[in-house]
């Protein structure tokens, strides 16, 4: 039984305890249900902080490893294998950090079937943490696929008017990619004899041609999840139809599962294929950056704008990853966190105003600054962070990525051209355009018709209340912290990134 009392096992499965408790709470006791879920996720966050204190930042390898034989009969070699390293620790923290915030945001927004909602949310957290910690491909796949199910219900039951369409589209799109990955996982398990990621990396020796096929199969799963242009079409539907908390988790964490997958598996298991594919993926990333930004500007719905901005922002992450150098990769990891914080906060804020107005159309908004000054201030900070203003978190990530992309390419390996960075920088400018456009439409100019509209319903538009402020402020703290002093965050990932790049360098040398 000692495998239960491993820090990482506890961290992954603690929300299940909350699920158990929830099952015994009657479904009409809504506040008790909410508190149980909130406390569970807060304790989970506490456990993740404990894990952080146990984490040795100077060690590039997997730490706090929990490894036990699971299915080792009939020619299978599957282990229960969790571990954390510099590549994943921040993402785990982001997950445990965003989940209680999301739950807090549903306090008054979700009144229907609260019990089911909280059950699915806690199950989702188990899946997400598991994805970032699993070091055995079979285990990873289970967590990966499993996250689909609760998210599908969250969108399908509590979502907007086109929720069923969006939920099914989300499910089928994501599954389409992951089943191809399943075949690649099986191939590795059969012909390399193990599903363990560290063992597979150590073993290596897959011929470059096969590597490329496996790389493509894995990339199919991750590229859809990220989503990379042109596989992004599920994202606007899912984001817009999902309830606020669902959008926050979707943008904040689920998309990161895709980029994390590239980082953890594609770059390490198939280094030679990664070198070959890097220019292609970088081009797609740049297209995504510009396309996402352009489409964002054309939106008339606030949430849709934020959704499309994710396509653009995650293009930066992909560009950083496939720069294949320490700068690019660490910038990408940081940008994953940044996007989780900024876009998460944007979705929260949009959700808060939507709860009062029941519309997200730009044309009815305007002049809200006077009516909701606190909301306006927070929105301004978050918007500026999202467009990469120096001093806030987005700038640090994007700048590092651009530096990495400029000097991209390993010696003898692949590409190196300032065009990638140059065109991507265009995306930064375009981000300023669409974000300021959004801000201006909502807060500046003459008072929009929505103010009157809400008044007609019998209550005036109010500013954020204490609970809502408490929901966003933790995000603001990190937005400033990363913007002003990102060193501790880079420090956590540096050794692991260095190790990863060293592996790629070896492959590049071997290829020549």
């Amino acid at each position: 039984m000692d495998f239960i009392f491993q820090p990482l096992t506890l961290l992954t499965f603690f929300p299940l305890l909350g699920v158990l408790v929830l099952l015994f709470v009657p479904s009409d006791k809504k506040n008790i249900l909410r508190w149980v879920a909130l406390i569970t996720t807060l304790i989970t966050f506490g456990i993740s902080i404990w894990v952080l204190t146990l984490f040795n930042a100077s060690n590039p390898d997997l730490q706090l490893v929990a490894k036990y034989d699971w299915i080792t009969v009939a020619g299978w070699n599957i282990q229960y294998h969790l571990g954390v390293d510099g590549l994943s620790i921040l993402l785990v923290l982001l997950t445990t950090f965003l989940t209680p915030i999301s739950i807090l945001s549903t306090w008054t927004a979700v009144e229907e079937r609260v019990k089911d909602f909280m059950l699915f949310f806690l199950l989702l957290e188990v899946g997400m943490i598991g994805v970032f910690l699993a070091q055995d491909l079979f285990l990873f796949y289970i967590f990966w696929e499993f996250t689909l199910v609760p998210m599908y219900f969250l969108i399908g039951i509590w979502g907007g008017p086109r929720r069923i369409y969006a939920a099914i589209k989300f499910f089928l799109y994501t599954m389409a990619g992951s089943i191809l990955m399943l075949l690649a996982i099986l191939w590795l398990g059969i012909y390399q004899g193990t599903f363990s990621v560290p063992d597979l990396i150590a073993k290596g020796g897959i011929d470059p041609h096969t590597q490329l096929w496996l790389f493509i199969a894995f990339a199919a799963a991750f590229a859809i999840k990220v989503p990379m242009w042109p596989l992004h079409s599920w994202l606007p539907d899912a984001h817009v139809e999902a309830p606020t908390a669902g959008s926050v988790i979707l943008a904040g964490v689920l998309l990161k599962m895709g980029t994390y997958g590239f980082l953890r598996f594609n770059l390490t298991l198939f280094p030679q294929a990664a070198l070959q594919a890097a220019p292609t993926l970088a081009v797609l990333a740049v297209i995504g950056i510009i396309y996402g930004a352009a489409v964002s500007y054309a939106q008339t719905d606030i949430k849709k704008l934020v959704a499309y901005s994710s396509v653009s922002h995650l293009g930066f992450v992909m560009l950083g990853l496939f720069a294949l150098n320490p700068l690019g990769i660490s910038g990408a990891i940081l940008q994953m966190i940044n996007h989780g914080l900024s876009t998460g906060a944007l979705f929260l804020l949009v959700g808060m105003v939507y709860e009062q107005t029941h519309t997200r159309e730009f044309k009815v908004y305007g002049g809200l600054w006077k009516v909701m000054p606190i909301f306006g201030t927070i929105m301004l900070i978050v918007s500026l962070s999202s467009m990469g203003l120096p001093g806030l978190n987005g700038f640090v990530g994007e700048f590092t990525i651009l530096l990495g992309a400029w000097g991209a390419g390993l010696k003898g390996g692949s590409y190196g051209s300032f065009w990638y960075a140059g065109l991507a920088a265009l995306g930064v400018i375009m981000a300023a355009v669409y974000i300021l456009y959004m801000f201006q439409k909502i807060f500046m100019g003459p008072e929009g018709s929505i103010v009157e509209e809400v008044k007609k319903r019998g209550h005036a538009l109010r500013d954020l209340n204490a609970r809502e402020i408490v929901t966003v402020v933790p995000l603001l703290i990190f937005i400033f912290w990363i913007g002003l002093y990102p060193a501790p965050f880079f420090h956590l990932m540096a050794p692991a990134v260095a190790k990863l790049v060293a592996g790629l360098q070896t492959a590049a040398t071997a290829m020549r």
Binding site: W70, A74, I142, I157, L182, L183
Partner: protein, 479 residues
């Protein structure tokens, strides 16, 4: 005097005698609950005997019947299927007003026939078992008479079943002509030593494949399935979908892996095409269904395709044990999941075929959370989403395909799984995201069936190593 060894077929023999006695006892008891209980008892006793046989093996009756790990595994699975069938039928046939004692007797006979199929080491026994399992099924399909749908189902099943049996018999005759024997071991040695007429043997084996494909409902021999599954009483369909498929695959695995490995070069492409077609046609047509029974019928066709996929590389010596083990493992997962799903269907079915449209499932999630959760588990398991047994089972099947280097087939397999997600999810969507006011039967044995099936589907998927080990140990006995 050929050696007679009754201990080899003890569970089967017991069940047959028990069924005969049950027919008599049924005349004396007024309350049909007792018949149901006695039938379950007979199955349980037989199951106990089967379990006590674990580890033993042998051949008897002049090499016509064999007992090995494979047959024990399949027999046990069939008996569990039988027990489930009694559990779901008990309340259902009373509710539908078709409570007659013969139901259980016929069920027992059919199970006995299926068990014989698993133990057959001679083509004559295969034929005998095929008839013994099929004839009670024809009767059971028409059991809801004077309901015309049910009568039609029985008739259709009978005609096409007789037709397919004809194929099998003709195939056996040709194989006999080619090799001079109907014994699987003699056929194998004749085929591998080159003393047989290869052309006749190939045609014969292909005809046997056709006949068995009818039984397991593989495309293009699947036409009867949707009508029969829809028309037959749901409890019969549940039994038929599981039991007949297990028996058909048991015969297929044993006959082809033992008698015809030398023909693999000719048969593998055929099997690959049948498997691919079955997966594609089953899943694609299922999309268009609005009736849950037809949906599950097409889904069962599709699942036959997945099992066949694992069996395609049966001629490769390194893969065949994986093929067999994967097939067995998948049958277990299929039985659990499928029975669970049928139990939910049975719980929601009203008289005169009401309550069988998918739209009738609206609001189930709100009104019967446990039932809806169980159905969700079954649907996810049929799709192959973790953490369910269906996922682990498919994982195993795909392993056989990839090990045999049938990559294209594996890709077809996963892509059709994706298609299947669409229609399985539609059931889930209806249950949770559409409104309605369904009425579910509350029968203890039925509740136990779907509850147990749902729990096992999830739990066994997380600790599948025991089942893996059993399936892997259930190897075919080579003579």
């Amino acid at each position: 005097m050929p050696p007679v060894n009754f201990s080899l077929i003890l569970p089967l023999l017991t069940l047959t005698i028990w069924a005969c006695l049950l027919l008599l006892v049924d005349l004396l008891v007024k309350r049909k609950e007792i018949t149901a209980l006695l039938a379950a008892l007979g199955l349980a006793i037989s199951l106990g005997m089967t379990i006590s046989q674990i580890g033993s093996s042998g051949t008897g009756f002049n090499n016509m019947v064999v007992l090995d790990g494979f047959s024990i595994f399949v027999d046990a699975l069939l008996l569990v299927t039988g027990l489930f069938s009694v559990a779901v039928a008990h309340g259902y046939i009373k509710r539908m007003g078709i409570e007659r004692g013969e139901y259980y007797t016929l069920l027992l006979f059919s199970v006995a026939g299926m068990m014989l199929m698993a133990q057959a080491a001679d083509l004559i026994i295969v034929f005998l078992a095929l008839e013994m399992l099929s004839i009670p099924l024809y009767v059971l399909s028409a059991f809801a008479r004077p309901n015309t749908d049910s009568e039609e189902a029985g008739m259709k099943y009978f005609l096409l079943g007789a037709f397919s049996t004809g194929f099998v018999v003709y195939g056996i005759a040709l194989v006999f002509g080619a090799t001079g024997s109907t014994s699987l071991s003699a056929i194998m040695s004749a085929a591998s030593s080159g003393t047989s007429n290869v052309l006749l043997l190939t045609i014969g084996s292909a005809l046997i494949l056709v006949g068995l494909s009818f039984k397991v409902a593989a495309v293009p021999f699947h036409m009867w399935t949707p009508d029969v599954y829809q028309g037959a009483p749901s409890s019969v369909t549940a039994f038929m979908a599981a039991g007949a498929k297990i028996a058909g695959f048991a015969a297929l695995l044993r006959v082809f892996a033992l008698a015809f490995p030398s023909l693999a070069g000719n048969l593998t492409p055929v099997l690959a095409v049948i498997s691919a077609l079955t997966m594609i046609v089953g899943n694609v047509i299922a999309i268009a269904q609005t009736n849950i029974k037809r949906l599950l019928a097409y889904s069962s066709i599709a699942h036959a395709g997945y099992i066949l996929m694992a069996f395609v590389p049966y001629g490769q010596a390194k893969v065949v044990s994986t093929s067999v083990a994967a097939g067995l493992f998948y049958l277990v997962s299929y039985v659990l999941t499928n029975f669970g799903a049928w139990a939910v269907v049975i719980a929601l079915e009203k008289s005169e075929g009401k309550g069988l449209e998918i739209s009738d499932y609206g609001g189930l999630g709100r009104k019967y959370p446990a039932l809806a959760a169980a159905m969700t588990v079954f649907m996810l398991s049929l799709t192959g989403i973790p953490p369910t047994l269906g996922f682990v089972g498919k994982f195993y099947l795909f392993r056989a395909a990839i090990q045999g280097q049938f990559y294209l087939l594996a890709v077809i397999g996963v892509l059709t799984s994706l298609i299947s997600a669409y229609y399985y999810l539609r059931v889930v969507v209806t249950m949770y995201m559409r409104e309605g006011d369904p009425e579910a039967a509350n029968e203890p044995w039925l509740n136990i069936t779907w509850g147990l099936a749902a729990l096992l589907t999830v739990i066994v998927s997380l600790v599948p190593q025991f089942l893996f080990a059993w399936a892997n140990a259930a190897v075919l006995k080579l003579f």
